[in-house]
Symmetry: D2
Subunit: 338 residues, 4 copies
Amino acid sequence: MIKVGIIGAGRIGKVHAESITNYVPNAEIKGIADPYIDDETEEWANSMGIPNVYKDYKEILTDSEIEAVLVCSSTDTHSQISIEAAKAGKHIFCEKPIDHDLDKIHEVLNVVEEEGVKFQVGFNRRFDHNFKAVKEAVEAGKVGEPHIIKITSRDPEAPPIDYVKLSGGIFLDMTIHDFDMVRYLSGSEVEEVYAAGEVLVDPEIGEAGDVDTAVITLKLKNGAIAVIDNSREAAYGYDQRAEVFGSKGSVKVTNDRESTAVVSTEKGVTKEKPLYFFLERYMESFADEIKQFVNAVANDTEVPVDGTDGLKPILIGLAAQKSLEKGRPVKPSQIAKN
Amino acid sequence: MIKVGIIGAGRIGKVHAESITNYVPNAEIKGIADPYIDDETEEWANSMGIPNVYKDYKEILTDSEIEAVLVCSSTDTHSQISIEAAKAGKHIFCEKPIDHDLDKIHEVLNVVEEEGVKFQVGFNRRFDHNFKAVKEAVEAGKVGEPHIIKITSRDPEAPPIDYVKLSGGIFLDMTIHDFDMVRYLSGSEVEEVYAAGEVLVDPEIGEAGDVDTAVITLKLKNGAIAVIDNSREAAYGYDQRAEVFGSKGSVKVTNDRESTAVVSTEKGVTKEKPLYFFLERYMESFADEIKQFVNAVANDTEVPVDGTDGLKPILIGLAAQKSLEKGRPVKPSQIAKN
Amino acid sequence: MIKVGIIGAGRIGKVHAESITNYVPNAEIKGIADPYIDDETEEWANSMGIPNVYKDYKEILTDSEIEAVLVCSSTDTHSQISIEAAKAGKHIFCEKPIDHDLDKIHEVLNVVEEEGVKFQVGFNRRFDHNFKAVKEAVEAGKVGEPHIIKITSRDPEAPPIDYVKLSGGIFLDMTIHDFDMVRYLSGSEVEEVYAAGEVLVDPEIGEAGDVDTAVITLKLKNGAIAVIDNSREAAYGYDQRAEVFGSKGSVKVTNDRESTAVVSTEKGVTKEKPLYFFLERYMESFADEIKQFVNAVANDTEVPVDGTDGLKPILIGLAAQKSLEKGRPVKPSQIAKN
Amino acid sequence: MIKVGIIGAGRIGKVHAESITNYVPNAEIKGIADPYIDDETEEWANSMGIPNVYKDYKEILTDSEIEAVLVCSSTDTHSQISIEAAKAGKHIFCEKPIDHDLDKIHEVLNVVEEEGVKFQVGFNRRFDHNFKAVKEAVEAGKVGEPHIIKITSRDPEAPPIDYVKLSGGIFLDMTIHDFDMVRYLSGSEVEEVYAAGEVLVDPEIGEAGDVDTAVITLKLKNGAIAVIDNSREAAYGYDQRAEVFGSKGSVKVTNDRESTAVVSTEKGVTKEKPLYFFLERYMESFADEIKQFVNAVANDTEVPVDGTDGLKPILIGLAAQKSLEKGRPVKPSQIAKN
């Protein structure tokens, strides 16, 4: 039984807490910490059977019974807390992104290596039943050598403008999952990025210096070409699709729906919209990533998404940002060197 | 080049004329006859390059150059004209049903046999790309031994009540195609029929002594069970589906649509309705049945749908009628004996 | 917090225990009883945090803290245990079927009424996301007045022959869920049943006096016609579909799959098979039926599936059996009178 | 009745001849010309009822009865023959591309304008039922303002290497249809092109200086971003899909198949592959483009695809070529100026 501490009691912290309670039999939550903890959250923690609720996350780092921590705090604290946790000898599950700053990411990865603790990054979509099915088909050789990888990733509605301003931009906030997915599905690294972006959803997003609609082309080391299309607002819901096309064929996944119901009337033949909310869509993947993290800790095996997997999408995202600014393709390796 | 005469210049006669002109290179129409021929039809015949237009079909039967006739006249004249055509030595394509009266059907089949002419019945759906795909999968052994055969056959709207009154009832008018399809797909004969029928679409249909909604269960000689569901009115269009389920799996076909377009909006994910009109839906099958009839004449080979194929669905239809009246299963073989 | 006892620690008893633990926050399991309890089950109970494990279910009935019991024992004990539980003042969730014997069912319903306890029957499919979507579309008037109701229900493989012998026959064991579904989706009662059945999957099933393939036609009080097709063995998995066709259109649901993946190669375009195992397919519905039972107890509201809902499908099943024997339609009301 | 001459009796010339004969009632073919005419083609022309077969296309241009010509000769002769035809006062249907050389295209467009003849370019896909459905949904405002346009266009197999060498490269030979489709679906012009291309299908294509796999990003005047993915070889057949995503939702079309058949077995649930051959896939669109050309001539109305529609995709294609060479985005307007 692995004792776990959770740092950050916001939406994703709670999701992970519930996953552990319901789906991870070999883990228990010993404490949760959040500087803004309120009565409601405290009540929720009680109902979950979490014995300790703290304002200060250091209480968790100093609890010697706790073997592993989940870093679910605000993005700007991920790297600092991860470093402290590693130094305290805790295994770490860190929400994405590790940081927007490359130096800080490298510091985290260095400390983690020195301290010999496990470090998993929260790219949950790798654990989704659909994307896993694509990966399995590719690995089983069903599509042959990958030639074209296509990802459609559109949010149901744009986030509040205050969130946009702090998000690091669409490429680091939203597309980062898709960059990870390209690496995961192709099994290859990104050599060059070209990003086309526009402000078509909300002018305020443009005023905040960001785009809300983008198509990003990625040249991969293995010769394949990947293309991602993003929108901050799909009227019909959360649109999450992928296709790998290769020398022997293709594998595609499309959206999950609440039911398979199809209604046929004089007006047309209508099925349900894609699931709207990312937690609803990806709930099972959130549970599975934590289960696998706990198993990696319990069995001392490799984590399924490591520090490099956390770093690379950031490099690609920074290259995409630069490509958009400069109006030309940019290599992530050039970003890395700067 | 086979010279063909068409008897009956109504909707289906015109369809066959156009098929021959556009798709059957080894046939030409030498004449068309209809007692109610009007200027518009005459003009149409001219535009089609049909050299002779008659009021009296006997002009066609006495034209020694004409080798084959298409009997597309009103149902109550099918058997009489077929008999005369056979005696005139013409090969015959006869629209379904041959007749509603068993004695007349037997007389047709006898004369046809005596005269040694070819006789094909217009069960066009056997030539439809979807139903052929089911047949081919079954014959290729893909579903193993057939266990359950399901046919959904629903019209987009009920015919005029005057038509209903002369139609011979839903089983002889509409389900007869489905009875043929059960024989075609199963490769087996029907041993027993149980029909449940209701008047749910239009009370006038009930007043005319017919039903508009029906579910018919058929026990087949090979042990399989078939079930047909019919409605005179499907709000969303012409609903034509089939499934053969067997020891190794199933094969299913669903409806054709005008395009593959799918529109996703806040309101739902909508595709097109099934094609609405039977001519639109089955156009290609009408062309193909005539092409194969002409080829059978030209090459002196067997017709793909023969007189027995015309007779059997009538027997099943009469059994279904009796089952509905009596409220119990009825064997077509008992109908045949009477 | 409702304290619950579970009687029967077989497959379904364990499923319900796990549902309560993971999904029903206002219930806890105080004890579980099974005459054949073994070490493995005891260990499982410990891991679930169930404090008491008994061989004798009476220990549960005499525990005054326990408000509600789940009767998950073998079918032949459902009625006796339900009667005792009602007399002990416990609210009851009883697995289907209540009994195969009508007198015993009536006795259960009478005692339950006298004692004023809640009594819910385990027709879990009503809680399935797909079937609920059909029900909601029908209730929202999307398809108008129901005319034809179609249910396809095929198991992935035939049960062991020893199970078949004790099962009460396909209609009481398997089709009973579909009879319930017809009542649920139509909101109407069954007036007459005609069953066609064959032995096509396994001759041993025939030797045991049962059939393995069936098509059942049901005439409903509201005029609609329902038809169910069953097979004990679908090579491609567990096939669970439904359609309600009405005056304004239709609503259909088809199978759930492990993922939306579609693989296109030279050989064809292939998607995943339906989920194979009923627990996998219906897991969510098992959880939801128990959640709703607990809520009915907690809030003293009506249970969603009551004793009458448990009785009626048995009557329909007995009518289907008699129809198969006699080769003619049979009314459930005639069964009820005997 | 419009008298038509066809110049070029290769595959596409024959297709157009058959369309006119079967589907265009107000046109007749008076002659066909091809320098390489052989006995087989002559026989075919006879069977089609084409009265004149020439080696020299000038025979057609000097026939004063012929009002319109179809230029179906080899690509390198399109512009020269079009110019001569215009000067002879013939209306012109010219196969795509008009030419690979911009000066020649401009010369054609100038002469056509001076002579006041109609000039339609053979972008047949605009007449395809699927792409038309997308266009209609967009024009009806169903998806709101277009934000992202996606086109997948993959051939079933690479053409012979000798064809590749003369093709003008993938962008002018294959993608040109997709560039036209972007303009057609978006109703907007292309401002900038970025092309990523690789040789993944056949190294010989690379040796010939071309690519066989490409992803092309297009920035449009209306702010939308379009993306095309191409492959010379899709193992599963001819893959022709499109999506327009906008402020109110999306419309998508996918491939046509030979039938709707779905086979479910132990191995999976399999539907048919996309239609393999472009003539099979687009037959109806070839017929419709000619029908509309003839109607434009007969009624003196505008042709549906004019000279500008022929020119613009060439500019985009040349920009794509340059982008690929230079490794950066290129504006078609810059190509036009050179």
